[in-house]
């Protein structure tokens, strides 16, 4: 662990004084990191937080709960708009990290939930985790090449989405397409009376 290479550090312009945090959630392989990378103006960065988690098994000999240490990695990107820096955090989708979401959700104004139609059933626990934290969210289907396209009504039903939850499609590799999905989210956020408070 050396010192930072300062030539790689992209400082914000002096005019930027505000920041906005959005989560890009989704199950493993839903395209979160690709999505973040397509919108980010900097090479996406990664933070790693060591945590100790109680594992489900017990120690064979002692019969005591065993603790395992692990690392929660988060990839994030940044995009500057005028005086505001938008930060997009790809949140780890693995089930064992869901308890970490209290910390991840802190300070976030909303979440975009990315979904792969080939693994719709994997999105349930992600949606529950977002809802449990009271985070406003929208859903974007990441249209992978070769994946079957479904009518949006079928997807809504499969995900058990509330009628008021916007659902859109995107290609996470494409900046304009990812930006459109974020527009749907931010419009949803600005239309909520709670946001205005």
């Amino acid at each position: 662990m050396g010192s930072a290479n300062l030539s790689e550090v992209a400082y914000l312009p002096g005019t930027v004084t505000r920041s906005v945090k959005l989560l890009v959630a989704g199950h493993f392989g839903a395209g979160k990191t690709t999505f973040v990378g397509s919108v980010s103006e900097i090479r996406p960065l990664r933070t790693e937080e060591p945590i100790t988690e109680a594992s489900v098994g017990v120690d064979d000999l002692a019969g005591l709960p065993r603790k395992a240490s692990t690392t929660v990695a988060m990839d994030f990107g940044r995009r500057t708009f005028g005086g505001v820096a938008l930060y997009l955090f790809g949140t780890p989708g693995q089930q064992r990290f869901l308890p970490m979401w209290d910390e991840l959700a802190r300070g976030a104004v909303g979440a975009l939930v990315l979904v792969d139609t080939r693994r719709l059933d994997h999105s349930d626990e992600i949606l529950s985790a977002v809802e449990k934290r009271g985070l406003p969210y929208t859903v974007a289907v990441n249209e992978f090449d070769g994946a079957r396209r479904y009518p949006s009504e079928e997807i809504r039903q499969a995900l058990d989405l509330a009628p008021s939850t916007p659902l859109t499609v995107c290609d996470a590799r494409d900046q304009a397409s990812s930006a459109k999905a974020l527009i749907v989210l931010v419009e949803h956020l600005t239309s909520r009376p709670e946001t205005l408070a």
């Binding site: 930072a4 990664r46 933070t47």
Partner: protein
């Protein structure tokens, strides 16, 4: 089965922050920070590293500082909060007090230009 009694990463984080477990102020991953014109003598090595990556001319978020220094965000949060207490770091001063809804609208305008 043998295993380390303590998680070395977690112990290390505790040592790096000088035994402080919680930040002294409410700072989060996207809190923006700029360096102030205050001499850094007498600071602990890890505090100097955090200060060293910050600039007086442009802000960085806590998350960016953590990523560049390869330190856990929780550790950087504690170190940065202490550096704010000592006047070495500050949040950038907005020209005007812009309501949150206007900040989101600025993001929306910017996103629309990417489409």
């Amino acid at each position: 089965m043998t295993r380390p009694r303590r998680d070395p990463d977690l112990v290390r984080a505790y040592v790096v922050t000088g035994g402080v477990l919680r930040p002294s102020r409410d700072v989060g991953l996207v809190t923006l920070l700029v360096a102030q014109d205050v001499p850094g003598q007498g600071l602990a090595p890890e505090q100097r590293r955090v200060l060293g990556v910050c600039s007086r001319h442009g802000a960085l978020s806590i998350a960016e500082i953590a990523a560049h220094l390869d330190l856990p965000p929780s550790v950087v949060t504690i170190l940065a909060a202490a550096l704010m207490d000592s006047g070495h770091l500050a949040v950038p001063t907005p020209v005007a007090d812009v309501p949150d809804i206007d900040v989101l609208k600025e993001v929306l305008r910017g996103l629309r230009q990417l489409v």
